[in-house]
Homo-oligomer: 295 residues x 4
């Protein structure tokens, strides 16, 4: 039986690790706060009290941590994955981090004798719980093939998109499109409200034509109701907009819309709304239009 | 049997009128260029050689013309619909025009003893041929109810969104979202190409998550292939961005993304690409990124 | 002695008319609210109780009114300048209006037998009082030459910039640059404040280099002090941004920065700050950055 | 006599070091390419063949190198300034680099027993030759006082703006304003050209009012003539826009105009125009407006 070490048992990682248990994997989990580890044990996994202990006997090591520095620390540190995992083990980073850091981590992993994939996900907490995540994978095709059973146990759309770092690049593009689509829908909603249109009916007809989108389907009704409970927090999307604008700049790619959305997301965080769902961009558009009180 | 006068038998109006014939309506068509009228006659309709002749005996008058001044001329002129249609007839403007002009036309129509709806469509030539248009309708609920059989014969998603002008307002919002979604996808594609990602695989996984959209489904593959045959021309979308930015300004609604997209669409037209499909925004993003030669 | 009819004796027009009196012109003034007329009489001018009365014997007719519709009404109406001024009189519109309207008014004036200049001004209330306005003049060179004594009596930099409408075009460009320069300074100030820099010293050194500008010289200190008493109100600058974005669109000129500034100015007005000086853009930038409480 | 080690004798550093010689300082210069060193020797300075040799006996060490990594290397490397300068010597970095790197370098310098100032300049090659640079200085007031004779020998406006890193912060703001002012002027010029206005006359009257700026005074005429010989290259301004957008993001400051200008500057570089003067933004605006052939 394949043994999977799972490091980072938070809102996303917790249910993902539990789904691996359900799918029949031997799962050894580690998290800084021990209560999260206990939740995995309750779900049928095993707990570890350190990264070295978690990865020592693993065939596959998965990390799901917040940001680029976290991945670097948990992989290349003295107590990290690369110093303690078995030679030949498969390391899969499912965090959302900078593509250039992802490439660097992959190189360090290979030098340590591991095989490395970057496999960030889209789909949020619901997708993690339902094992219906979209997973964009960068790395060697053979390694991707070997990782498929693990990835299929937590995701629905699992696609190999290119060499190391490519998963993160696609995830960055994903976040660009998502933030932009939300902002466009927000501008459209405030516009429709200002003209006294029946917005519920309007979203229905917009969704049926070329303006249709997953954002409109999943977020439209709650945006009309001004419900911004996350979901995916603006503070995290702000981090991700930093990744995509910076990566675009490094590659000489001009993204005027991306740059403006990044400023708007930054404004929501600066104004104290970083804890809202990213559909909370609507709140900013309404306030800029002097319509904060009504909807 | 209901008699429908159909004025404007172009790329959209032609197949729509033919679909009304198929649905069993008595259709009398008028168009400036007589060959378009002949096509309707060939499809089983009747031809008229002037607006007054077309509308004289009609229960329902439909117009489908290019822009705001065209609607004003065909309705309020001496030879126009309002001077020659029967009192109590139902007038349905399916053109995409300025909401404020639409409101003004509705008032003039009511003063002339007609009932008036604005009912712009989304779905393009394909939707017109397949009778699968999305139709957003503004006007009185009773008039909407009476117009349903006609609208259902050409559309699939037919929704009443509010009082006179509301259809145009929703169409303006539709065009804002569509242009923005195309531009975001264009920025994402150039970004992914610059990083050497497998873009076909990337669009597949993007489409499966929160970044999914009708634009991505329908335009993604042709954008990757740099095929920009219209479809819906950038020159027309430029006209529509003028409508939505101007209407937002008048209502005091702030649309930062809409304003920037409007500039980018304007650039494509100024550079001579107004005849391309609106997905041709990709060409501009690639050129701004110094990547016009490759894909 | 040259007789000048002056229509529109507001914040700008009042002191301008008074300066014409001082310069030795016979000035006949008209304004809707009679108290403004009395102020001119007190300054040594003559009052009229209607436009026809004011313009009947004038060699030169000057208008200084708020917006495009006001100019159209005061010129082409039944009681307007063109119906009542002497053939061959010189009409000078110093209002800031749309260039296309200005061209149309000039044509109507010529058809009525008048000679017409557009001569909008820059410099604000202070410039009007001190007779130090910048004046950008469109129209025929001969007419410009004849108008010089009048223009020199109220302005310091008086320049002929092209045929009819050109003055308004240059004024539109002026408003684009001014709003943009203010917004850039606002972004720089909030940035410097966030880093705890000595902003007074910083503005001094910025002003001494390539970042120097008249905006920085005249508005920098009051912006640091958060003093936004007009001066030139954001509501008027909002009107002017509508003129320049619309004129750019009609000419196929792409102004990405202008379009974004126009949105930001629109936001200040929508949020209720239209009565502040245009340097009040700083307030918006600070609020977007979550720094509304401090400076 | 004060001995100054000057590291980095390029387009800016070369004439600055020569001006220090003229002002009576003992100047020891180092540059990677020896011909630059020879030019200093010809001007009356002394040459060194390594950083350690240059700084060993210096009272003041000045660096003028291209970018953040260069400063880090020349200061903290084994052969760097901090390992070889005398304890208590004054280190002045006049390069334009990231404020956070500047703060880090200052800390490392202090730990090595040096006193550190950041003192980036504005004014370009002409200002370097004429010793008329604007210099914005961060660090301790006492150190600033001691550095004044050296700074006064190369600059005209020399201002202390705050603690370590503040000079770089002000320089970042400077670059934001300058790029923005250039872009606004470019948009205005293309707009005026499209309307057939006399652009020379227009710039004269714009310069006389609130739209006036140092950019307009120094760059207006060459922009009209489409002369884009640097001066300050777009490629360097692109680097600087990266600094200011990133520093604004870190401080939670929202700079919508800065973000859009940064994209436009990035586009000029991506399109191969990085070697033009930064006023070459005009070329991009003209091309976006389909007016690349004419002016």
């Amino acid at each position: 039986m394949t043994t999977v070490a799972f490091i980072g048992l938070g809102i996303m990682g917790g249910p993902m690790a539990a789904n691996l248990v359900k799918a029949g994997f031997e799962v050894v989990g580690y998290n800084r706060s021990p209560d999260r580890v206990q939740a995995l044990v309750d779900a049928g996994g095993r707990g570890a009290s350190s990264v070295p202990e978690a990865v020592r006997d693993a065939d596959v090591v998965v990390t799901m941590v917040p940001d680029s520095p976290d991945v670097e620390e948990v992989t290349t540190g003295d107590d990290g994955v690369f110093a303690h995992a078995r030679k030949g083990a498969l390391y899969v980073d499912m965090s959302t981090i900078r593509p250039d850091v992802s490439v660097r981590v992959a190189e360090a992993g290979r030098e340590a004798g591991l095989r490395v994939l970057d496999a960030p996900v889209s789909g949020g907490e619901a997708g993690a719980i339902e094992a219906s995540l979209s997973i964009m994978v960068g790395g060697e095709p053979d390694d991707f093939a070997e990782a498929r059973p693990v990835l299929d146990a937590v995701g629905k759309t699992v696609v190999h998109v290119g060499p190391a770092g490519s998963g993160q690049t696609v995830k960055a593009a994903n976040q660009l499109i998502v933030a932009g689509n939300i902002e466009l829908l927000a501008e459209a909603i405030v516009f429709l409200e200002a003209y006294g249109v029946d917005t519920g009916a309007a979203l229905q007809v917009l969704g049926g034509g070329l303006a249709g989108s997953t954002v409109l389907d999943r977020k439209g009704a709650t945006m009309l109701a001004r419900e911004f409970k996350p979901g995916f927090r603006l503070a995290l999307h702000h981090k991700d907009m930093g990744i995509v604008t910076s990566a675009a700049r490094e590659a000489g790619v001009v993204i005027p819309l991306g740059a403006v959305v990044a400023q708007l997301v930054a404004a929501t965080v600066a104004r104290g709304d970083g804890g809202l769902d990213h559909s909370g961009l609507l709140k900013l558009v309404a306030e800029l239009s002097g319509r904060s009180d009504s909807n």
